[in-house]
Amino acid sequence: MTETVIQTHKLSKIFGGLTAVDKVDLTVPEQAIASIIGPNGAGKTTFFNCVSGFYTPEEGDVLFYGKPIQGNATDKICSMGISRTYQNIRLFSQMTAIENIIVGKHPRLKGTWWEAILHNRRYIQEEEDAVKEALHWLDFVGLAGLGDQLALNLPYGAQRKLEIARALASEPKLLLLDEPTAGMNSQETAEMTAFIKSLRDDLGITILLIEHDMKVVMGISDQITVLDYGTKIAEGKPKEIQANQRVIEAYLGPGAAALSKKFQRKKSHDA
């Protein structure tokens, strides 16, 4: 019986007069790749922020393996096993790539400040192992050889990958990816898509994804949740979502659904 990794019940986030997320229910089983899509301003990133602890929801709860985590501090949530990436890459720019990854491993390490001064055996061993593991992640995301580069000097695609490597270093059970293919060309996007799938297939990590690129979404998602103006308007497998009228209208405006139907009929007519 697959466990439910993350589940939200009637999650709501209200800013003053604006309800950004309105009573959203979401369930993601273990090792699933779930996507959240919706037009701009639909509340996707706000939803992410509620799940990852950046925001405290006004209503509803977030359950991680059955345990409520809403309102917890982000560092606690990270050590519980949830990691994330960011829409506009937020690396630690003045540190090297490999250091960024090792920082990602911070919650799994135990070195204290006096151990740092004393350099006792356990500490030295732990640091060495951390470097070794970071190099492994570096290689895993395809950035081997770039470890000593300052993060801000890396090309855009490499930075995105580095961010993911950093998120992986804390051995998360749930990985939240916020628009991982933003700004990428089709080849890079294809690579990233395959990479995300391998995270689930090889590492068994559950993935929750915000994406705008429909190829990616439809290609790898096990389930898709569609938000519009903060509410969930559809949920299901890719094929279902593609045919869903409400979704089409949310993206293209009212009347688009009927138009799309017309095109579909015309296509089958001409065929």
């Binding site: 990852s52 602890g53 950046f54 501090a73 982000t74 560092d75 949530i77 990270c78 050590s79 990691s83 994330r84 960011y86 937020r90 630690f92 720019s93 003045q94 540190m95 090297t96 490999i98 250091e99 090792i102 920082v103 990602g104 911070h106 919650p107 390490l109 070195g111 204290t112 400040w113 151990e115 740092a116 001064i117 350099h119 640091e127 470097v131 070794k132 970071a134 190099l135 570096l138 290689d139 395809g142 950035l143 081997a144 050889g145 770039l146 470890g147 000593d148 300052l150 890396l154 090309p155 695609g157 490499a158 990958k161 950093r166 804390s170 690579e191």
Partner: protein
């Protein structure tokens, strides 16, 4: 051509104003007199204001050349004609501005109007000197001199500094330096542990013997540099590593000094504690203050944190000085006759005290270095780079920020106690805002987060002014200007922080584990 003229006017105006500023603040006089000791044409007994015309002319010429040289830089159209024109215009405009000024003050002098009430630096003697010895043609001389030097500067800039042959020579020498340092022999030298230890041994020897030779004056100065290195290392942890801009660092210095003082001074409370124990208490008290201060203010954003800590520093100083607490702190009179360190019955003399400072500095550098490249140091850097993300990456930002404050404060406490003990005195005037700003300056100018940077910064900001004693009154002015200039031109500091090359180091140690070089899929 038009840009050249515009450039010329712009630079001419800037340099002209600078020259006026130098004249009005008395800097021209001081500089000329310092030049005089170099050129050996100033009578030792002569008054400061009687400066030979030659010295003033040299300074003016130098300014003119700078004006001309800077003005002549023309990105688009780097022709000789453009350069020379802008140089001439720059010099002429500067000459015009200064000439008018010289005319006005010369006239005032002639009419026996004493301007010293409003502009204390230009008394009649000074004006005479600025006019090349009361020369009535001085304004024209200024104009001519500056124009000519402007053209010269432009010519030099175009012909020598920006010349093609020099660019190539520079590139060549950089290249050969690179190849030299990358030669296997040289690399071995730098990375070699034996060489490093040898270097350290040499430094240790120097630090042991020099103090016995250079006299108590230099012992004091260098000791102060050492104490400021301590302070800089501490503030470096707070500002440079964990990114919290604390402007009231002197508060911790004061707590350290006063804890030491209150425990060891004969009045007001004659506790007469042992030196070493008092130092320990000073460090602990400062660290505790760091934590206490940190607790309420941790969630403040950068600018506010700065102001609050500034306020806190001032509050401490005012309280120490106040009548209200005089019974406890001895108020404005401060604490005197503090204990000196003793070892095996013998009180330290100034050489011994210097050695003590060196030992403490060495320990501090060791600790700071170890912290910087550790899990703790990485956590601090992450917090300073992006606190929200650092937290989401699992770092307990609260704890680490408090830790940085506590450790940084501890360094300051030690520094404060040492400073007080060395002077055998501490008072409210030792703990003014300027101390905080001094330490902040040296950390930033040296390079935030960088330990060699702190050492360099200390020497530059504390040691160099000692060498230029004559310019003492301009020290703060230069400080302020230096801060602005450094921020605009080189915010990373003189010796910026460097991050370790972990991948390379690992590959060196474990050659068979490493992935093939250069295999990059991005």
């Amino acid at each position: 051509m038009r840009t050249s003229i515009k450039n010329g006017i712009r630079l001419g105006a800037i340099v002209g104003v600078v020259i006026l500023f130098f004249h009005l603040t008395g800097f021209s006089v001081v500089a000329s007199s310092m030049l005089g000791s170099l050129l050996a044409n100033v009578d030792k007994g002569a008054a400061m204001e009687e400066i030979p015309a030659l010295n003033l002319a040299v300074i003016l010429a130098l300014m003119g050349m700078i004006a001309g040289g800077s003005a002549s830089k023309n990105k688009q159209n780097d022709k000789w004609s453009n350069s020379l024109v802008s140089g001439a215009v720059a010099g002429a405009f500067a000459g015009l501005l200064t000439g008018i000024f010289i005319f006005v003050i010369g006239f005032a002098n002639f009419k026996e109007i004493d301007l010293r009430n409003y502009l204390p630096e230009i008394g009649p003697d000074v004006i005479d000197s600025l006019l090349f010895g009361g020369n009535a043609a001085a304004p024209y001389l200024y104009l001519a001199l500056l124009t000519v030097s402007g053209i010269t500067g432009a010519a030099l800039s175009k012909g020598v500094i920006r010349a093609d042959w020099r660019k190539k020579a520079q590139a060549d020498s950089v290249q050969s330096f690179k190849t030299l340092t990358q030669k296997p022999g040289v690399q071995k030298l730098f990375g070699n542990k034996i060489a490093m230890y040898g270097f350290l041994a040499l430094a240790a020897l120097l630090l042991y013997f020099l103090p016995t030779q250079w006299g108590s004056y230099w012992n004091y100065i260098m000791g102060t540099v050492g104490i400021y290195i301590l302070l800089g290392l501490g503030l470096n942890i707070i500002v440079g590593l964990s990114g919290q801009l604390v402007l009231g660092y002197v508060a911790f210095f004061a707590i350290g000094a006063y804890t030491f003082g209150l425990f060891t001074a004969p009045e007001p409370h004659a506790i007469g504690m042992n030196f070493w124990l008092a130092i320990l208490f000073a460090i602990l008290a400062a660290a505790a203050t760091g934590v206490l201060l940190g607790l309420p203010i941790l969630s403040l954003r950068g600018d506010y944190l700065a102001i609050v800590t500034l306020g806190f520093g001032e509050i401490i100083r005012i309280l120490i000085k106040s009548d209200m607490l005089t019974d406890f702190t001895n108020g404005p009179s401060g604490l005197s006759d503090l204990t000196q360190p003793k070892w095996l019955g013998q009180t330290f003399n100034d050489v011994n005290f210097f050695h003590l400072i060196v030992i403490f500095v060495a320990i501090a550098i060791f600790i700071a270095g170890r912290l910087q490249y550790s899990r703790t140091g990485r956590a601090w850097l992450a917090i300073s780079a992006d606190q929200t993300v650092a937290k989401a990456t699992g770092i307990n930002t609260y704890k680490y920020k408090l830790l940085a404050l506590a450790l940084g404060a501890a360094f300051a406490g030690l520094g404060g106690a040492l400073f007080a003990s060395r002077n055998q005195f501490t008072g409210p005037e030792d703990h003014i805002l300027m101390v905080s700003i001094n330490v902040l300056c040296l950390v930033i100018v040296g390079g935030m987060g960088s330990i060699p940077g702190v050492v360099v910064g200390s020497f530059v900001l504390k040691g160099v002014p000692e060498l230029l004693r004559d310019l003492e009154s301009y020290r703060l002015l230069a400080f302020g200007a230096l801060l602005v200039v450094m921020m605009v031109m080189r915010p990373e500091g003189l010796w910026p922080i460097g991050r370790p090359a972990m991948e390379a180091a690992y590959n060196q140690k474990h050659p068979k584990d490493s992935p093939p070089e250069g295999e990059v899929q991005s």
